[in-house]
Structures are given as structure tokens and as C-alpha cells.
């Protein structure tokens, strides 16, 4: 009986007192490096948990410029770039090129349309409107484009617009736009192109250009939401054009970037990689996959040991590594990164 009581007490104690083991505290790693050259800089940008904001960042000065994604619909490049037209990737604008050159005859947006976004590389030949002059008619007018301004900030009739580039006169880009269902001809708008910005921004809510980005000299990287185009998916697949959040380099002023390594940290990486990895001019050379959504963790995780190189047109080089994607409240959309100028 005494043995039985011992057994009972032992099992009862084990069953009722088992508990989760305590954790061991972590010691923070150092930034590493050999102490030569400029010190590494740690920065965070706040895009908002819904990625409503786009952040322009200068690696040289560390300055940040934060604006709402809904400030503009399209952007027009300078004469040097060939007047290309880009759609606002930050609010997921997409378009459809019609076969019509008569603005008022386009007024329907059937559900069967397959909308196309601009490629994140921002190569003009991978964008919908892009070098529109190549398709201009004898009068210099582009085809009429239907524009889906995205469901993030627009509903009903304000979501779908039509756009037509009419030509270039005295350095002014002439265009017209109107709600897609409108059957009357709107007034023509003449857009003077900025001399300090590679892109001039146009909102369908305004009749004159709007201020969005800081001057070209003041930013190198843009943190924004954009479409990633998966060409292996069918055209009408919901996963062909997938909304992601990442970094677009300022390709219009010649910023280039590349992934240097996925196996080392900024302070410990092999410096020879700078000479071995060629820089890329595509705007999304850094892109979005420095983080990954983990279905096990049901959250975003930073992919460790990925160091990107950024080449500026003035010859400066910066190493860049991401540390975090969350703010103190656990809300996503706040990338934290460390960057360091390479001597």
C-alpha cells in the first residue's frame, strides 16, 4: 500500500507540475567589420501596416521622404528618357490598351478585360504604356488606354479611367483622361516636365502635376508596394501579377544594385564579391525577396545573411542588409536595415 501511495504521488506530481522550460537569453551579435571606413548605419522606414506610404531614401545623407501612395496615378519621364509613361505601382494601377484612337468611343470596361501592370524592372519595353510614341497614329496620338486605378483607394466609377497621350509640343506632354464611362471629350491637359525629377507625376484628380518624389539627387531607393509579374502563370491567373512590398532603385538616375551574397552578414562578407557580382540596372534588383512569408510561423521572416550591393552614379557603393520588417507593435511594413558605405 505504501508503494502504491508512492507511485500515486510520483505520477500525480509529474502530471500536475510539468511545465514549459524557461528560455535562455540571447546575446546580441556585433555588426562585425574591420573598423575601417564609414560606420554602418541602421535605419527604419515606416510604410504602414497596409503599405500605404512610399518612402524615398538617400543612402548618402540618410534622408527619408514619406508620401502617400494615392497622390498620383501615372508618371511621365523626361525627354532624355523618351517621355515614357509609368503607372503608379504603389497603389497597384493596371491598364489595358484598346485598339481605338478615338477617346470618346471607348467607354466600357467589361469584366473579361485582362489588366496588365508595369513590370517592376521599369524597363520601358516591359510596361503597358511605356514608349507610347511607338504606337502613335499619324496625328501623334497614342491608343486609348483603360486604367484600373486599383481597389485600394478607389471604388465604383472613380476606379476606372481612360487615358490618351496626344503628343508633345514645346516640351509639354499633352494628354487627356476621364472616367472610363464618360462619352464626352474632356479638356486636354498639358504637362510641363520637371527639370529636377526624372518623373513628373499626374493625378486623375488634378489638372496639374502633383509633387510626389523629392528631387532626383535626394534619393536612391524607393520602398514601395508593387506588382511582381510571374510570367509562368496564365494571363488571367490571380497569381500572375502578385502584390509584393519591396525596394525599387532609382534607375532613372543610374542607381544599380545586386545581391552580393546570401550566406554572410554585412560585416563579415567577402569584400571580393564587390568585384565579382555585376550590378543590375533593373529597378527591382533588390526587390522584395529579402523577406519571406512563413506559413509555419504565419508571418513574414527576414531571410538571413543576404547582403545587397548598391552602386550610385557618383561611384559610391553601399552594402545593405535587412534586419526586420515589423515595428514595436508587431505591425508589418516597417523595414529595418543596416547599410554601410564601402571604401
Amino acid at each position: 500500500m505504501i508503494r502504491l501511495a508512492h507511485l500515486f504521488i510520483t505520477v500525480l506530481t509529474l502530471g500536475l507540475t510539468a511545465c514549459w522550460p524557461a528560455e535562455e537569453p540571447i546575446t546580441l551579435p556585433s555588426l562585425g567589420g574591420d573598423g575601417t571606413g564609414p560606420s554602418p548605419v541602421i535605419a527604419s522606414v515606416e510604410m504602414g501596416s497596409a503599405y500605404d506610404y512610399r518612402i524615398y531614401v538617400s543612402l548618402t545623407t540618410g534622408a527619408q521622404y514619406r508620401v502617400h501612395n494615392n497622390l498620383f496615378d501615372i508618371a511621365i519621364g523626361t525627354a532624355e528618357l523618351g517621355y515614357p509613361v509609368y503607372m503608379n505601382e504603389g497603389k497597384l494601377v493596371r491598364g489595358y490598351r484598346t485598339n481605338s484612337y478615338t477617346f470618346e468611343q471607348v467607354y466600357a470596361t467589361p469584366n473579361t478585360l485582362i489588366w496588365t501592370p508595369d513590370a517592376p524592372s521599369q524597363n520601358p519595353d516591359s510596361t503597358l504604356v511605356g514608349n507610347w510614341q511607338l504606337l502613335a497614329d499619324t496625328e501623334g496620338k497614342s491608343p486609348v488606354y483603360l486604367i484600373d486605378r486599383g481597389s485600394l483607394y478607389h471604388t465604383g466609377s472613380s476606379r476606372y479611367y481612360k487615358l490618351q497621350l496626344l503628343g508633345i509640343t514645346d516640351g509639354l506632354v499633352r494628354l487627356r483622361y476621364a472616367p472610363a464611362a464618360q462619352t464626352t471629350l474632356p479638356e486636354e491637359m498639358q504637362v510641363p516636365l520637371s527639370s529636377t525629377h526624372a518623373l513628373t507625376y499626374v493625378s486623375f484628380e488634378s489638372t496639374s502635376p502633383v509633387a510626389v518624389a523629392p528631387p532626383d539627387d535626394d534619393w536612391d531607393l524607393l520602398f514601395t508596394r508593387h506588382f511582381q509579374v510571374y510570367l509562368d502563370q496564365p494571363l488571367d491567373s490571380p497569381t500572375r501579377n502578385y502584390s509584393v512590398t519591396g525596394i525599387l532603385g532609382h534607375r532613372f538616375k543610374g542607381v544599380q544594385a545586386a545581391l552580393l551574397t546570401n550566406a554572410a552578414d554585412l560585416g563579415t562578407m567577402d569584400k571580393a564579391l564587390w568585384e565579382q557580382v555585376p550590378p543590375q540596372s533593373a529597378a527591382n534588383a533588390i526587390g522584395f525577396d529579402w523577406k519571406v512569408f512563413s506559413f509555419d510561423a504565419n508571418n513574414y521572416l527576414i531571410r538571413p545573411h543576404r547582403v545587397y550591393g548598391v552602386w550610385l552614379p557618383d561611384g559610391k557603393r553601399f552594402g545593405l542588409q535587412f534586419l526586420d520588417f515589423f515595428d514595436e507593435q508587431g505591425q508589418k511594413g516597417t523595414p529595418t536595415f543596416v547599410y554601410q558605405q564601402i571604401p
Partner: protein, 756 residues
């Protein structure tokens, strides 16, 4: 009387039954057989069957009387007093059979009363079932297809919860979600269509439409009854696939205070312990229980676990008052679970932290049951219950340097899902002499769901239902059970639900069961009022959803042969479900990526099973096989097969070893590869699959101290099934994966059961 019953039945056979020709044909055949099997009445015999050891009357004993003059035979089952009557020309040979007792043969030469005593055979007696019954009855004697997993089975398998118990049951598939727990499908229909009851009270708290089976503990459960096929007439909505009814322990067998203690250890980190005490005095019985289940997580990856750590506390108190004609029972049960989901660490030179989540689930159930015998022929059975479910998610930011945790707010503030249910069900049963039993019942259900993702103006749902079930035995061979349920629902039009069950006994050994029933699943509050819109999701409920409806057809043949020391049973069956108005999450606005619930399409499931069981005093062996299939017109029109088949095989073996009185038990099941087609926007067909797997559990147990102490050791999941290869899409707001978790790995188990 028998002849009147036959002529009454003959009058009705001209009319089709529910428009279902198969059942009508069966009815006609049964009538003919019943008619030709009748005997002319001569002498009156009143038979009473008692147990030899304790002298109690034995109900449901099969008694066959064969006139040695005419050769005509007839049989009946004894009633609750162990009695039955015959009119037969004497002398007559009397043969009595009852599971758990040695068969008895005797020749009677005189009319009048005879008392016969059966001797225990050492075989386990057949369990009585109560699900959808007016009174307890052996599963083989009801026209419904009911499986019973009794306490002996629960103990032999060392199953701590419903998930473990059902893991090797045929026609049941389990799926794992690391946050929401284990869910099931039955007859190829997912868990939304399977109603899980505790003592007849529906369990609430379906997260994403599913109940977490690991939260349904078996420490306080006497047996589990599984009814396949729609049970809408008895239990209303959400029982398209069937009903799983857990019967709690309420009775106190001892007149003094008795108690017990159970403990279970699993090498994956499970430490369970529970204790109970009972007391019986006079007409009163009291039972108290308290338990704790602890799991410290499995498959650790850094500080995260694939299988999340959880701690459960549960307690219950029940009181039973029994008088000659009245039985009142009250039970309350409480359950509290904390599940810890540790996040992946974010470590950088500036900080180290992780986002951790704690999910706290609380269940409360209170029920009052009242059974009243009003007269010899009339009884009343009523249930009133309230059930509450809360699930809170708390999200923390844990500083991994100083290990301080801070509760987050904003969009990560604690959120709550709350389900409330109030219900009452009552049945008035009137038994006409010999052949008829009529049950008239009502059910009232009030349900409310409150949650952060449920629209604020979502109304509660109330359901008022009336039902009628008739059990008619036109002859000793044939048993018919038509039923119908009318439901008024405050939020949608509930369909009229009929059902029809029939059982025909070719002999005391062989019977055929056939069933047709309609079922329906009410659109859940989530499907009607979900509002889940953020940057990654745009899923909105549809208040205009119709109920899913189904037709279920079942046919089963059972053969049971009993000898003095053994019993053999073979059962084969077919089922077919045809579900209409299937509620599906669909893209309704492609440009806006808006998903909503729609009544789209049909789903058909079918199956064929064969099971065999052999029971001897020293061992029992059960083997079975099942082929289930899913099909849909949409799949066929997209070029798919008519049905996609998946096999299951089961083998359970229990033996009492001659050495040291050890008992060895083996439970195994092979679950075949599951194919599920998906039809895309352009009518293209893609096949999703889950690979096949095998589960094997082995236990070895020995009892000591006059069976009061039992020690068990064994292995669970000996095939070491962990993740299954699969290409499943997991919904609109998440992605697919290359594998899905199915089970924690191979584990050693040890269990102790002590009864004082």
C-alpha cells in the same frame, strides 16, 4: 395481433414510400418475407431471461421458439424486464442468445411462465447506444448504423482525446492545423458536416468551421457513438456526414465513496493526469472529476515548435437522481486550454525579439436531462443545455535579451471569438403494443457568435423545430423507422427533412439495413457575416446563402454468429451522399480579389466497406476495408473522372496473453492517397493530392490488485508518420505547401489507471 399488423402493413404497401423506389421495393420484399415467416398461434409462453450470477433481468436477448410439431419458428427480443411472449404449438425448442453470455437451448413442454438463466461466457457484452434512440438499445438492434467505441477500447488505445481515438477508424480522416487543431471528415464530407455532441448537446466553437478534436478529452467519457449518415431529423443542421455523440460518465456504481486516478505519458512531451470521485446514496449519485493535460511541444525548430505546446485543465461535476419513474441528471463541465505559439526569433545587432502568441480557449457546458416514465407505454425525455466557448488570442513581443514580454495593441491587440448556445430538446415516446413506437419531439436552439472578424450587426440565430419518428415492427423480421423534421429558422429557410430507415432480419444472425435521409447544413455565421478585409485579405460573408442540402443512401448487411465461446461478425455496406447548394469560397470580383461564399455546385461521395470481427474469450480481431470516393458534376464537365477513389484498411487485434495476464492490443490503419480535383476559372482541372500513410499503435497492459490498477506501455504512430507530401491549396488568404502535417512522430506511451 401479429396478423393485424401484417394486414395493416399490406394496406400501406400500395403507396410508394417517400418516392424512393429502392426503399419501396425493400419494403415489399420485407413484407412478403415477414408474411411467409409468420406462424400460427397455439399455446402461450411467457419467457423471462435472467443473468445467473446477479439475477438481473437481461434485455435484448434474442429468443427463438421453434415448434417441434409444426417446425415453424419465431423469435423476439426481451424487453427491459427480460421478458417476451410467444404463441407457439408445444412442445417447442427455445434458443436464447445474448452477447457476453453462453447460448442456451431448452425444450419447453408446458405453456405459461418460464424463467431461464444465462451464464456469462467471458465475452464482452454488446454496448447499448442512446444516440437518436428513445431508450438504450444494442447497436445491432437499431435500424441506424451506429458504431460504438467503448471505455475498454479507449483505455486499450490509451487515447487521451477524440483525435487519438478516431485516428484509426474507418471512414474518418483527420486533418491537422497547427493553430486550430485537429479536424475530421466523415463519409468524405468535411468536419463542418459532422455534428459532435456531448450527451446530445452540440459542441460549439467551430474555428474556420471545424472543431478541434484534441480539445475533446476522453478522461470523463464512457463511450463514443458514431452514426454515419444524416441525422437531421434528430439533431437538425450540420449533420450531413453524421453524428459523433460522446457519452459522459455520470453513474456511480459504488454505494460508498469511490475514486480513481489516471495518468498518461507520451514521449513527445505529453504528461496527462486526472482524478475522479463518485458517491452514491439512496437515489442520488454524484461524480466529480478534475484533470490536466500538458504537452510541451514537439518538433522544435529553434524556439518554435511545429506542434505547439498546450496545457489543458478540465473539470466536471454531475449529479443524478433516480426514482422508479424519474431520472434527473445535471452535469457541468469546464475546460481551459492555453496554447503557446512561439514565434521565430528576429536577431540583429540592435535587438533580439520574437512575436509570441497565446491562444486561450475556454469551454463551459451545462446540461439538465430529465427522463420520465409517464405510463407503461409513454415516456418523456428532455434535455436543456447551455454551452459557452471563448477563444482569445494574445500577441506578445518578447525581448529575447531580457526575456520580458509586452502585450501588443493596435491591429495585434487581443482578439476574441465567442460562441454561445442555448438549446432544449424533448421527446415524448409512446409505445403501442408490440409493433409501434411513436416519438414526437421539439428542439429549440439559440446560437450567437461574437468575434472581431464577424460583422458587428450579425444577428443571432434561432431555430425552432418539431419532429416525429415512428418505429414500426410489422413483424419480428422487419423494422421500419420513418421520420420527419420541420424547422423554423430566424435567418434562412430551412428545408423539410425526412428520413427513412429499415432493417430486415433474415434470421437472428443476419440482417439488412437500408436508409435514406435528407440532411442540411445551415450556413454558419462566419459564412454569412465574416468581414475580413485588410491588405492581404478581402473575404466577406454572404447573408443570402442557402442551406446545403443532401440526400444520403445507405445499405448494409450484417451477419453475426455466436457460439458458446465466440462471436463472429461480418458487415458490408454502401453509402452515397449527394450534396447540393455546396457553400464554397469563391472569387466574386477578380479585379478586387474579393472572395465570398456562394452556393456553388454539388458534391457526391460514395463508399463501400467490408468489416469482419471475431471475438473469443482470449482475443478479438477486427479487420476491414473501405473505398471512399468523391465526385462532382463540375469535375466531370472539366474532363475529370466520375469519382476519385481512396482506400482505407484497418486491422485491430487484442489478445490476453497467457504469460503474466498481459493484454496486447494493436490498432492499425492504412489511409490511401487522396485526390481532390479543383476546377479553375477557365474550367481547367488540377488535381490536388495528399499521399497515403499508415498508423500503427501497439499497447501492452497488465492489471493488478483485482483489476483496480492497470499499467500500460506501448508505442503510438510506430510508422513514424509526420508530414505528408501534398499539393493542397489552403484557401484564399494563404498559400499551398509541399507537405502537410499529419501526426507527431513515433512515440512511447505509458499509462496508469487506478480505481480505489
Amino acid at each position: 395481433m401479429r396478423n393485424r399488423a401484417h394486414s395493416s402493413y399490406a394496406g400501406t404497401r400500395r403507396h410508394p414510400v417517400c418516392g424512393f423506389p429502392g426503399v419501396g421495393f425493400l419494403l415489399l420484399c420485407s413484407l412478403w418475407l415477414a408474411w411467409t415467416g409468420s406462424a400460427s398461434a397455439q399455446d402461450s409462453l411467457r419467457i423471462r431471461i435472467l443473468a445467473e450470477d446477479h439475477g438481473d433481468p437481461l434485455a435484448f436477448a434474442s429468443v427463438r421458439a421453434t415448434s417441434l410439431v409444426t417446425g415453424q419458428a419465431q423469435w423476439q427480443y426481451t424487453d427491459s424486464l427480460g421478458s417476451c411472449q410467444f404463441r407457439v404449438q408445444l412442445p417447442a425448442l427455445l434458443e436464447v442468445q445474448l452477447m457476453g453470455y453462453s447460448p442456451l437451448r431448452d425444450t419447453l413442454h408446458t405453456a405459461g411462465s418460464h424463467t431461464l438463466k444465462l451464464v456469462g461466457s467471458g465475452l464482452q457484452t454488446e454496448a447499448l447506444v442512446v444516440t437518436a434512440q428513445s431508450s438504450p438499445v444494442p447497436a445491432s438492434l437499431t435500424p441506424l448504423n451506429i458504431r460504438v467505441l467503448d471505455e475498454a477500447r479507449i483505455r486499450a488505445q490509451a487515447a487521451p482525446n477524440l483525435s487519438a481515438l478516431l485516428s484509426n477508424e474507418l471512414n474518418i480522416r483527420l486533418q491537422q492545423d497547427m493553430a486550430l487543431g485537429t479536424s475530421l471528415s466523415l463519409q468524405g464530407l468535411n468536419g463542418q458536416n459532422v455534428k459532435i455532441l456531448v450527451d446530445g448537446v452540440p459542441l460549439v466553437g467551430r474555428m474556420n468551421g471545424q472543431l478541434d478534436l484534441t480539445q475533446i478529452n476522453l478522461a470523463d467519457i464512457e463511450r463514443v457513438e458514431i452514426v454515419e449518415g444524416p441525422m437531421a431529423v434528430n439533431y437538425g443542421a450540420d449533420a450531413l456526414g453524421g453524428v459523433i455523440n460522446l457519452i459522459s460518465k455520470r453513474n456511480a456504481k459504488e454505494t460508498r465513496v469511490s475514486g480513481g486516478f489516471n495518468a498518461l505519458y507520451e514521449s513527445i512531451g505529453t504528461y496527462n493526469a486526472d482524478a475522479w470521485a463518485t458517491r452514491r446514496w439512496g437515489r442520488h449519485q454524484l461524480r466529480l472529476s478534475l484533470g490536466r493535460n500538458f504537452f510541451d511541444g514537439w518538433n522544435e525548430q529553434g524556439r518554435t515548435h511545429q506542434w505547439k505546446p498546450r496545457e489543458q485543465w478540465m473539470g466536471s461535476a454531475s449529479y443524478v437522481y433516480t426514482a422508479s419513474k424519474t431520472r434527473l441528471s445535471f452535469r457541468s463541465s469546464l475546460f481551459d486550454e492555453t496554447l503557446l505559439s512561439r514565434g521565430a526569433p528576429v536577431v540583429s545587432p540592435i535587438q533580439a525579439y520574437a512575436f509570441d502568441e497565446r491562444f486561450r480557449t475556454q469551454r463551459q457546458q451545462y446540461d439538465l436531462q430529465w427522463q420520465q416514465t409517464i405510463s407503461k407505454r409513454t415516456s418523456w425525455d428532455m434535455l436543456a443545455a447551455a454551452s459557452l466557448f471563448n477563444r482569445n488570442r494574445y500577441r506578445y513581443r518578447t525581448n529575447l535579451v531580457n526575456l520580458e514580454s509586452r502585450l501588443l495593441d493596435g491591429i495585434n491587440a487581443p482578439d476574441t471569438n465567442r460562441f454561445q448556445l442555448g438549446m432544449s430538446r424533448g421527446t415524448l415516446t409512446y409505445r403501442l403494443p408490440e409493433a409501434w413506437e411513436v416519438s414526437l419531439g421539439y428542439e429549440f436552439t439559440m446560437e450567437r457568435t461574437i468575434g472581431d472578424r464577424i460583422a458587428q450587426d450579425a444577428p443571432g440565430q434561432e431555430e425552432y423545430a418539431a419532429y416525429a419518428i415512428v418505429q414500426w415492427k410489422p413483424s419480428s423480421r422487419l423494422q421500419l423507422r420513418p421520420g420527419i423534421r420541420y424547422t423554423y429558422h430566424t435567418q434562412y429557410d430551412a428545408p423539410l427533412m425526412p428520413s427513412f430507415n429499415a432493417a430486415y432480419r433474415f434470421s437472428p444472425k443476419a440482417q439488412l439495413k437500408a436508409a435514406w435521409a435528407m440532411g442540411f447544413r445551415a450556413p454558419s455565421l462566419r459564412e454569412r457575416f465574416l468581414y475580413f478585409v485588410d491588405i492581404n485579405h478581402n473575404i466577406q460573408g454572404n447573408p443570402d446563402l442557402l442551406a446545403e442540402t443532401s440526400h444520403n443512401y445507405q445499405l448494409a448487411f450484417q451477419y453475426k454468429h455466436m457460439t458458446q465461446k465466440s462471436a463472429y461478425e461480418v458487415e458490408t455496406g454502401l453509402f452515397f451522399n449527394d450534396v447540393s447548394n455546396l457553400i464554397t469560397l469563391a472569387v466574386v470580383d477578380m479585379p478586387a480579389a474579393l472572395y465570398s461564399y456562394r452556393n456553388i455546385g454539388r458534391l457526391q461521395t460514395a463508399g463501400f466497406r467490408v468489416q469482419s470481427k471475431a471475438i473469443r474469450p482470449r482475443y478479438s480481431l477486427q479487420v476491414g476495408g473501405l473505398l471512399t470516393a468523391q465526385g462532382a458534376p463540375d469535375w466531370r464537365s472539366a474532363g475529370g473522372d466520375a469519382f476519385y477513389w481512396s482506400p482505407e484498411l484497418q486491422a485491430n487485434f487484442q489478445v490476453k496473453l497467457p504469460w503474466q495476464s498481459l493484454k496486447l492490443a494493436l490498432f492499425s490503419k492504412y489511409t490511401g492517397r487522396l485526390l481532390t480535383p479543383m476546377v479553375g476559372e477557365n474550367n481547367e482541372l488540377t488535381l490536388q493530392f495528399i499521399e497515403d500513410f499508415m498508423t500503427v499503435d501497439v499497447t501492452l497492459s497488465r492489471s493488478f490488485w483485482k483489476e483496480r490498477l492497470t499499467l500500460l506501455a506501448g508505442g503510438r504512430n510506430l510508422a513514424d508518420v509526420r508530414n505528408l507530401r501534398a499539393n493542397m491549396s489552403t484557401g484564399a488568404h494563404s498559400g499551398g505547401g509541399g507537405s502537410i502535417p499529419q501526426a507527431a512522430g513515433r512515440m512511447f506511451i505509458a499509462q496508469l489507471n487506478l480505481t480505489l
